[in-house]
């Protein structure tokens, strides 16, 4: 027995001194692009084919995940090359979708009713259903982008009005008719209310004020929310639709407040001798990004807890001549912003902890006002090009979150600025 004990003891001692295994963390994998093909039976009508074309176009936006293979009835060879095969057949006014993911043997099918008076939104709904089966999350296919355009403006009478457009650049619609200057729109989570500021003049046009208004997209009625002296602007909705966060300057300098839309009662969030503007709220409402000159080195990005006053203030950016429009990603893990570099604005993104500062745009005009798509995969922004001494062109573009430009979504809509992506 004694011998056995000594043997075990010596084994334990040896094991303690021997070198052990060392685990090296390789890190997260890169996503593999799936080849997807949208094929159809010869019985599919021209309406059905148009819908399939829209669906394929929608999937083309997600270049990081999908490569859409071309399909024609004459050449079906590409079907065998696809990782994901989506096949359409039509029975009267029903379009049947059959999906096969060859990577994981997933199969799915569903019928959608279509009519001759189909709209792009019907196609987007089918595309979203397919996307949700494949990626288990909502797509951007039913989302809209709100922006301000100077369409119809003249040098004598400058006009900027609020518009909305589908994510793919179709169905542009004018929403306001103030014949004035609209700035800084913001949309609520449900996508049925828009806050915006309107630059209003007194009757003799000697004085002007930036007033805050709210547009109800269901009734299309606009009402005044705040008209305090000075700035009433940069407003955003919180996760509670009845509360907004805005910048007011009637206290002396620009400060950020929370306002209850029902009582109009204000609660101060920032209190500093420096200017604090441009708030952006994280989806959970527990963190707010804003711009402040409190560092004394130009406009820098800060975050704080908006549930208190000057609570948990943290400086995020330490570089940049002039930073502007910080916007939280939907997950709240990063902030996209524009910054003045090489004589123009460009888009950057940074982690909420101040890490991973990366540049997204370069040599592509002057790029401002980034806004994340609801799923965080894309960023819309306004890009300006100087055409001549008196003429500039400003359009809304979409890029993926790594800076690959997908293209302009506004065309012949005047100079378009301040895009805001809604659900």
């Amino acid at each position: 027995m004694k011998k056995l004990v000594w043997v075990v003891l010596s084994l334990v001692m040896f094991n303690c001194y021997a070198d052990g295994l060392t685990v090296v963390a390789v890190g997260d994998a890169q996503e593999e692009v799936d080849k997807v093909i949208f094929s159809y039976h010869k019985n599919v009508t021209s309406e059905g084919k148009s819908i399939i074309k829209v669906i394929a176009n929608d999937f083309g936006f997600y270049q990081r995940f999908f490569k859409v293979l071309p399909f024609s009835l004459q050449d079906k060879s590409q079907v065998d090359n696809a990782d994901i095969w989506v096949h359409f057949t039509q029975h009267a006014e029903n379009l049947k979708v059959e999906l096969e993911n060859r990577r994981n043997s997933l199969k799915w099918q569903k019928e959608f009713s279509i009519s001759k008076k189909w709209q792009r939104r019907d196609a987007h709904k089918i595309a979203d259903a397919i996307y949700q089966i494949l990626r288990k999350k909502k797509s951007i296919f039913l989302s809209k982008i709100f922006f301000v355009s100077d369409r119809g403006s003249s040098r004598k009478r400058p006009v900027k009005e609020l518009y909305q457009i589908d994510f793919d650049g179709y169905n542009a619609k004018r929403l306001t008719f103030h014949h004035g200057l609209v700035i800084s729109p913001a949309v609520n989570l449900a996508g049925d209310k828009v806050l915006y500021s309107l630059i209003s003049y007194t009757k003799n046009r000697r004085k002007r004020n930036i007033n805050l208004r709210l547009l109800d997209l269901k009734t299309m009625k606009s009402r005044l929310i705040s008209s305090r002296p000075g700035i009433n602007s940069g407003a955003v909705f919180t996760h509670d639709d009845n509360k907004i966060i805005l910048t007011l300057s009637d206290v002396g300098n620009a400060e950020i407040f929370e306002m209850d839309l029902r009582t109009k009662r204000l609660r101060r969030i920032t209190k500093h001798f420096a200017q604090d503007v441009d708030p952006s709220i994280r989806a959970d409402g527990q963190r707010m990004a804003f711009l402040s000159s409190r560092s004394g080195k130009g406009a820098m990005i800060y975050t704080l807890d908006p549930r208190g006053m000057e609570k948990g203030v943290r400086r995020i950016s330490y570089v940049g001549k002039f930073n502007a429009t910080p916007r939280f990603s939907p997950e709240g893990t990063e902030i996209a912003f524009s910054s003045w570099l090489d004589n123009c604005f460009d888009i950057f993104r940074i982690g909420v902890d101040g890490n991973n500062l990366v540049r997204l745009t370069k040599d592509f005009g002057s790029n401002e006002d980034p806004t994340y798509s609801p799923d965080g995969e894309f960023i819309a922004f306004s890009s300006q090009r100087v055409l001549s001494r008196r003429k500039i062109s400003q359009k809304i573009y979409i890029m993926d979150r790594d800076g690959t430009i997908l293209g302009a979504i506004t065309n012949k809509l005047g100079n378009c600025i301040t895009p805001r992506w809604s659900n």
Partner: protein, 251 residues
């Protein structure tokens, strides 16, 4: 009496050893069993950390950095066009005023072209830098994922071993790809690798499966596609050879 005391002492020593052994085994078991089911008694984990180097706004975009990383690997050498044989082209004709002016303007253009060439060459130098400096230039101001090491005994061999291991994640990550449906499933697998002095993979085995065969297969393929690994320093060859290295996908 003395015999009785000795017998008591022996019994006391015996049971003391037994109790201590049991305590040691229980302590070891408590330390490793919940997180590790391998036969190994000593596991060191090297995980990602952040190294902060912000000095100014980044000049390069993500796309440019990726492109430069790809371009940097394939070093292209620009060869200048062979110089014209001046001896053979001796111009004897008397030059007119117009020709002189043309020549002058050509000189200016040539100088400009040369300047552009020099600038381009300077730009290309980024792709010709080697090692850490190359990586640093490519990274710009982007914050880098580094590696944090757990405490070690501090010998030179351990330092070399840690340095060697730090190279592996970057070496493998390029081959580590997953299809959409496997991402976000929070899967994890660990692979033990046996590497010889030249960096050749001798053997790899899954010691902790993710539970998804496709995930495990892709992790194994990433390891196999990454071979050969960097050559192993002499002082740590025995450790690499006997399979002390475990690769965690992702951790």
């Amino acid at each position: 009496m003395i015999v009785a005391e000795n017998s008591f002492l022996n019994r006391f020593t015996f049971w003391s050893i037994v109790v201590h052994l049991l305590l040691a085994i229980i302590a070891l078991g408590l330390k490793y069993l919940p997180t590790w089911n391998s036969s190994s008694s000593q596991v060191e984990v090297i995980a990602n950390a952040i190294r902060v180097d912000v000095v100014a706004m980044p000049k390069f975009t993500i796309a440019e950095l990726k492109q430069m990383q790809q371009g940097g690997e394939e070093e292209s050498v620009e060869e200048d066009a062979p110089a014209a044989d001046d001896d053979l082209l001796v111009e004897k004709k008397k030059k007119s005023f117009m020709e002189l002016m043309k020549k002058l303007s050509k000189k200016r253009v040539d100088t400009k072209i040369e300047q552009v060439k020099i600038k381009r060459k300077r730009g290309n130098r980024i792709g010709k830098l080697s090692g850490d400096l190359h990586k640093l230039v490519l990274s710009g101001n982007k914050l880098q994922k580094g590696n944090s090491l757990t405490a070690s005994s501090g010998s030179i061999a351990d330092g070399e071993f840690a340095n060697y291991l730090q190279q592996l994640p970057d070496w493998i990550r390029g081959q580590w790809r997953l299809p959409t449906y496997l991402l976000g499933k929070n899967l994890k697998c660990r692979i033990q690798v046996y590497i010889n002095a030249q960096g050749k993979l001798l053997r790899s085995k899954i010691i902790e499966s993710s539970g998804d065969s496709e995930y495990d297969r892709r992790a194994l393929r990433a390891v196999e596609d990454s071979t050969p690994f960097p050559p192993v320093p002499e002082s740590i060859r025995s450790r690499a050879l006997r399979g002390d290295i475990v690769l965690g996908f992702p951790l």
